[in-house]
């Protein structure tokens, strides 16, 4: 084979091509250090030959698989069973919970606020008159100001995704406890945990101000990909890549993405969405790490996976699912 005619098989260099393709992928995966110029070079390399494209495609698909198992069809289908697009549209259209919430609010607060609440496992999309939208996740309470010309919301509990139409003269403000998020034309999520607040900015810009009693006030300007965490009046900002950002919004499609999360963390996430609660008492089991996409409302599927994967013992009993060795 060594005296082969070079033009016969472009594929003869398969090994070399594959090494180059892997190298490109790894560089691109290091997204913070990937420039427009790099992209141009990669495009040129791909355009050079079909062999390059094919090798790149194959490794790219592999990397995608390790990155997001949610692309697997069956898990999506399973989600679809419960939150089919039709059902989802109906939920948005009727917004029953929201309407009831609104009536109560009117009664309780006069015309100052509209109150919206979602039950465990539910989601709601609120369409505001100005084209903005707010999507409430499970077990969430949000109030909207009804004052004319004032665009404010109070996230009292839970998590919400905001897509705000920017209006320079009337910035949209979300207040979550001692923290205030001011949009500068944005898409962002806010989640309240018991001891911290997390703001993830997907598009545009926003400002976060925190002013907890006894602490000095601080401010952060957020750019796309930024995740700000506020703990006792202190803000820290980290960044997420597109994949991880998409994970943050998985709940909008009813999907939770766990990337090597401990079973304890994964269970507490799932427990937010379900009345059926997962219990793990063995610390060794709680420390096991799991990777995969799960339907937020399918505790049984999650339990099955741990059973199959870690050979755990699963006990269903009266609204509790216990995982043990």
């Amino acid at each position: 084979m060594s005296d082969a005619n070079p033009q016969e098989y472009e594929a003869r260099r398969a090994n070399l091509v594959e090494a180059e393709a892997a190298n490109w992928l790894v560089q691109r995966r290091d997204w913070r250090n990937w420039s427009e110029e790099d992209q141009t070079k990669l495009d040129a390399w791909l355009a050079e030959s079909l062999a390059h494209q094919v090798a790149f495609m194959r490794l790219e698909a592999l990397l995608g698989r390790t990155e997001r198992l949610r692309a697997i069809k069956p898990s999506l289908r399973r989600v679809g069973n419960v939150w089919s697009p039709l059902l989802f549209r109906a939920a948005v259209g009727l917004s029953l919970v929201a309407v009831i919430g609104f009536l109560t609010a009117k009664y309780l607060f006069g015309s100052e606020y509209a109150l919206y609440q979602t039950a465990v496992g539910d989601r709601e999309v609120l369409s505001l008159g100005d084209g903005s939208q707010i999507e409430l996740n499970t077990d969430t309470t949000l109030r909207l100001s009804r004052e004319k010309g004032q665009r404010s919301a109070w996230l009292d509990r839970g998590e919400a995704y905001f897509q705000i139409k920017h209006d320079t003269r009337h910035p949209f403000v979300v207040i979550a406890g001692e923290n205030r998020i001011t949009d500068l034309g944005t898409k962002f999520t806010i989640r309240r945990f018991s001891s911290r607040l997390e703001v993830t900015l997907l598009e545009g810009r926003a400002r976060l101000d925190t002013n907890q009693a006894g602490q000095s006030a601080s401010t952060a300007e957020l750019n796309p990909g930024d995740v700000a965490t506020v703990r006792v009046g202190h803000i820290s900002v980290t960044r997420k890549n597109e994949t991880l950002l998409a994970d943050t919004l998985g709940w909008r499609r009813g999907i939770l993405m766990f990337r090597y999360l401990t079973l304890a963390e994964a269970a507490s996430e799932l427990n937010r969405y379900n009345r059926t609660q997962i219990i793990i008492s063995d610390p060794a089991v709680a420390r096991l790490r799991i990777y995969g996409a799960f339907a937020a409302n399918d505790v049984a599927a999650f339990a099955d996976a741990t059973e199959a994967y870690f050979k755990l013992h699963v006990k269903h009993n009266d609204g509790l699912v216990t995982l043990s060795r």
């Binding site: 084979m1 003869r12 355009a47 194959r58 698909a61 069809k73 990777y291």
Partner: protein, 198 residues
Amino acid sequence: MVDNPDSKNKSADAHGQGAGMGAPEAESWFVREVLPLEAALMQFLRHNWRNESDVGDIRQDVYMRVFEAARHEIPVSAKAFVFVTARNILIDRVRRERIVPIEAAADLDNHEAISDEPGPDRSLIARDELRRLNAALERLPKRSREAFLLLQVQDLSRREIAARMGIAEKTVNAHLSDAVRALADIVYGEPPDMKAKP
């Protein structure tokens, strides 16, 4: 997911000459229908080609021809198309090299016995995916796996990985490339291990 029509257009353009007619469809078809056949294809190639060191090149050649054809028109049956292509390539090679591996001649005509019936239950595959990826990860050399997990799971930059592991950035690159290639060979190239069941 964030709606961003701009970024969609960009990724469609990002494949240079591949951005021709129907390329995105061909790509997704390739990833969805062809790559999962890799284990069977490799088995077929190994069985019909004595020189193991050529198999990677032959696979590459099969993929190129299949993808090129798909850019013009997506074949009706991926499986039939891939194996017919593989068979033709092997026959070409046999002719060119004027050696006839005896076992090949008989087998090349038998491959069509490979049925087109649906594979194993999809949900089984889904559940298996977790296990498979983890098993594949465990088989990587320790340093490669470590670097790969730092990149994919912790989302560190290559510089940060180098600092964390106390090695040069160049070595990190090598570990990462090795990891990606080895994982692809395991995940696509080996038959899935279906024996572990709940």
